[in-house]
């Protein structure tokens, strides 16, 4: 068991290191650098010598291996370097932009799970066949909706037509309602699909017939036997969908003009602000790896079949 835990943690660290190295190589491979982009602009009116001096000061002209080693060392210390464009430490930028994104992503994910579970269980419990069919086909509809279009439609309908949610000077929570909905819908769809399929499959298992033969009610069957077995395989998907969440957040923040990591990423890409990009990539990877590590570690707790089999007796 401890071997399993340490193995998984080791793997996670390895993935993180690979993500750091890959992003470093890719970002370094881009032509030009942030220093050139910023100071070459005629506004500054700098000469080539002066630019070279600045480049030397930021150490962007040194050997790539030296840069790699230094960046890695700094990252390990928690120092993400300076944003060239904004002229402030990257960590300071992250400190302002992270909380809104975390709120958005966290709420979005929670709502997505809630939505998926509701659709899945209602679709198996609903009293009428037409309602069940409707609920079962809902995920395929939701999965095909583009995020930007959904965002615009939500603003159109709920803000401009119905005037339910204000988009101009909204309150801190009001500003989150539509972005969270936008983010949750496409994430909930694949989750709901998996859950519906699992519930249908589990319901045909012999142990459900045995539980029924004990006199169990439908509600008991669903919560005590079907739910726990059906949720297990969905857990992996939930972990993978976290990646979607990060991608979805970028689009959502742009459409709703939120000042989060998504907006920061967009700007950093435009300006080739490498240290910012590198920090975002590594932090996203860290979050992704951490979530999937948590899923992996949760499995043996939820599924007794995955616990140590050394104690099996015949």
């Amino acid at each position: 068991m401890t071997l399993y835990v340490f193995g998984r943690i080791g793997q996670a660290l390895l993935v993180l290191w690979a993500a750091f190295t890959l992003s470093f190589v890719l970002l370094q491979a881009l032509p030009g650098d942030a220093v050139l982009i910023k100071f070459l602009s005629p506004d500054f009116g700098l000469s080539a010598d002066q630019i070279n001096e600045i480049r030397a000061a930021y150490a962007v002209d040194s050997n790539i291996f030296v840069q790699y080693g230094r960046t890695l060392f700094n990252f390990l210390k928690g120092d993400f370097g300076y944003s060239l464009q904004a002229g402030v430490p990257v960590s300071a930028q992250l400190a302002t932009n992270m909380p809104p994104t975390l709120r958005l992503a966290g709420l979005g994910f929670a709502v997505a799970v809630l939505l998926a579970v509701s659709i899945a269980f209602l679709s198996s419990m609903a009293p009428f066949a037409w309602l069940r069919n409707l609920l079962q086909s809902l995920p395929s509809l939701l999965i095909s909706v583009p995020v930007f279009w959904l965002a615009i439609m939500l603003i159109q309908i709920f803000s401009f037509r119905l005037r339910l949610v204000s988009v101009i000077n909204p309150g801190p929570w009001e500003s989150l309602v539509l972005p969270v909905a936008t983010l949750a819908v496409p994430i909930s769809a694949p989750l709901a699909q998996i859950l519906i399929r699992n519930i249908d499959e589990i319901r045909t298992r012999p142990f459900i017939a045995v539980a029924r033969a004990k006199g169990a009610s439908e509600a008991r069957l669903l919560w005590k036997h079907v739910a726990r077995n059906a949720i297990l395989p969905a857990l992996t998907i939930a972990g993978v969908l976290f990646g979607e969440l990060v991608a979805g957040a970028v689009v959502t923040e742009t459409v709703f003009g939120l000042n989060g990591i998504g907006g920061l990423t967009e700007k950093a890409v435009g300006n080739q602000d490498l240290s910012v990009l590198q920090a975002i990539v590594v932090i996203s990877a860290a979050a992704f790896v951490a979530i999937n590590l948590a899923v992996d570690l949760a499995y043996p707790i939820l599924d007794p079949r995955l616990r140590n089999r050394a104690g099996v007796e015949r």
């Binding site: 298992r205 012999p206 142990f207 017939a209 045995v210 539980a211 029924r212 033969a213 004990k214 006199g215 169990a216 009610s217 439908e218 008991r220 005590k224 036997h225 726990r228 077995n229 297990l232 939820l302 599924d303 007794p304 079949r305 050394a310 104690g311 099996v312 007796e313 015949r314």
Partner: protein
């Protein structure tokens, strides 16, 4: 049993149907029978006979598209056939309970054994946890589970198949119901485990006075364990009566057929002895197979097994699950390298074969698997399935290839019209014939049959065994026949190896194995064959074709 007592179960003119698309297909057409208190009634029939549907209707567990069209089901005097599922819930588990078919999948994998037994008690009454736990331990003890206090904290995957079935029986008897429905309770279990489980059900019935409705395809099990037998075919009762009467003088042609097809009820006449001097087709000498375990140790699955098979004869490898019989044949077929020992097929040393030689070797040794539902590609037609080995080995022109496929399909007794069908349109017996055709189309010397008839109904089983015997006689085939069923082995084999925990405990001719000289383990296996209560000779079928002259 006094005659004034009302029957526990009284089924009258029961008609059941299933919705298929827009139509309803009737599967049970007016079935009537009773089960008296303390009585064991066996519902016997093949797949599709309506026996399981009838049993499901009695406990109100018909599939969602199933329906009771007419008729009544009186349980303890009350007609439950029109009850809502909410009302049925009160009697399920309490008045009528179920021992299911497949213990492996009938317990919730993420719930402890204790919680699953306790659930029945919880549903039907308020008990405090300590009292419930005490009752659960008592129940597990009464079904003969060792260390019940440990078991309640274990999960299903930590128990063997026989132990799981004991847990399921504990669940079924927890509330001392008037009627237990046992739906093929032992068909997924090894024969010695089967006997112990059936003994247990019988003991509990005697102790509690519970009635049992035993649903089974195995007439031999019904013969040993029931007071009365009801024979179902195509949703109609063919015959019912006291077990000894039905077996001694079956009135119905279908019953007689079932009796003659049941391998364990027939007193097989042995095949003539193999004449000396036949060439040897397969030699296995001191075969050892180790598998590495996660802990770094090794597990010895096969430990020093030796036998020879003369050309044109059948050698049976017999054993329970975990005995090493499958590992042995995988080594013969060249699917895994043995750790030690020698395997020869004809004059080839199987261990020394390398990639292309090994591929060529496959045409000499072909396999037929247990499960004809899993071993045929559902997306291929029968034609494509049988043709595929030819494409791998014989670059024949298309018309010749098709002629060979056609001849082979004809040889295994299938109509040519099936060639364009896909496997799901075939019955189990037809599928197994396709699998045999696929194995024979390359004209192999040796055919390895891995439990090839175990998944089939007795009548189909008898037909396939007859086909195999004919093919052996006509084509001079050598069979290695893997089975857990000694009754079948007695019919088809010339020589037998009995494996137990990887060791060969007995080796000899069928006569020697069935003689008192066999080891205690083999005798236990033979004792466990059901159907010994009524040994009969009257309906023996003629012995299967014996090893014929070599062509």
């Amino acid at each position: 049993m006094s005659p004034v007592q009302a029957p526990v179960l009284d089924v009258r003119d029961l008609v059941l149907s299933y919705r298929q698309g827009d139509e309803r297909a009737a599967v049970v057409h007016g079935v009537s029978f009773t089960v008296e208190p303390g009585e064991v009634v066996a519902l016997v029939g093949e797949s599709g006979s309506g026996k399981t549907s009838t049993a499901q209707a009695v406990i109100g567990l018909l599939a969602e598209n199933g329906r009771i069209d007419s008729g009544t089901i009186h349980l303890n005097g009350e007609d439950i056939s029109r009850w809502s599922s909410r009302r049925l819930r009160n009697i399920r588990g309490a008045v009528v309970s179920l021992v299911p078919q497949d213990p492996g999948n009938s317990l919730d994998p993420v719930m402890t054994i204790g919680a699953q037994v306790r659930e029945t008690l919880e549903i039907h009454g308020r008990l405090d946890r300590r009292e419930a736990d005490r009752q659960v331990i008592e129940l597990l003890t009464s079904v003969g589970l060792s260390e019940p206090a440990l078991r309640i904290r274990q999960y299903p995957h930590e128990l063997s198949g026989g132990m799981k079935q004991r847990v399921l029986i504990a669940i079924a008897i927890a509330l001392r119901p008037a009627l237990i429905i046992a739906d093929e309770p032992t068909s997924a279990l090894d024969v010695t485990v089967q006997r112990r489980i059936l003994d247990l059900i019988n003991d509990l019935r005697r102790e509690y006075g519970t009635s049992v409705l035993l649903v089974t395809h195995d007439l031999a099990v019904a013969a040993d364990r029931s007071d009365r037998i009801i024979v179902l075919q195509g949703g109609r009762i063919q015959e019912q009566g006291r077990t000894e009467d039905v077996l001694a003088a079956p009135q119905n042609a279908y019953t007689r057929k079932l009796l003659s097809d049941a391998p364990s009820l027939a007193t097989a006449r042995p095949r003539p002895p193999i004449e000396p001097g036949r060439p040897i087709a397969v030699t296995v000498r001191n075969l050892v197979q180790d598998f590495p375990l996660q802990s770094g140790k090794t597990f010895r699955a096969v430990d020093d097994v030796s036998f020879t098979v003369a050309r044109g004869t059948t050698h049976a490898v017999v054993g329970e699950s975990g005995s090493g019989k499958t590992t042995t044949i995988r080594a013969i077929a060249g699917f895994q390298k043995p750790t030690g020992g020698e395997i020869r097929v004809g004059d080839l040393d199987v261990r020394s074969l390398r990639s292309e030689e090994l591929r060529q070797f496959r045409r000499k040794v072909q396999l037929v698997y247990q499960n004809p539902w899993g071993s045929l590609d559902p997306r291929q037609t029968v034609q494509a399935i049988v043709e595929e080995p030819l494409l791998n080995f014989d670059p024949l022109p298309r018309d010749q290839r098709q002629a060979r496929v056609r001849a082979m399909i004809d040889r295994v007794g299938l109509p040519a019209a099936l060639l364009s069908r896909s496997p799901h349109a075939l019955s189990g017996g037809q599928r197994q014939r396709v699998a045999i055709a696929r194995a024979l189309v390359l004209e192999p010397d040796v055919v390895v049959l891995d439990e090839a008839v175990s998944a089939l109904d007795v009548t189909v089983q008898a037909q396939i065994l007859t086909l195999l015997a004919e093919l052996q006689r006509d084509l001079g085939l050598t069979y290695v026949f893997v089975s857990h069923d000694l009754a079948i082995v007695r019919q088809i084999a010339d020589t037998v190896s009995v494996l137990h925990n990887g060791r060969q405990v007995d080796y000899g001719t069928v006569d020697e194995i069935f003689s008192p000289a066999a080891t205690a383990y083999t005798r236990e296996l033979i004792q466990a064959i059901p159907g010994r209560k009524f040994p009969r000779a009257a309906f023996d079928r003629p012995p299967l074709a014996a090893a014929g002259p070599l062509s």
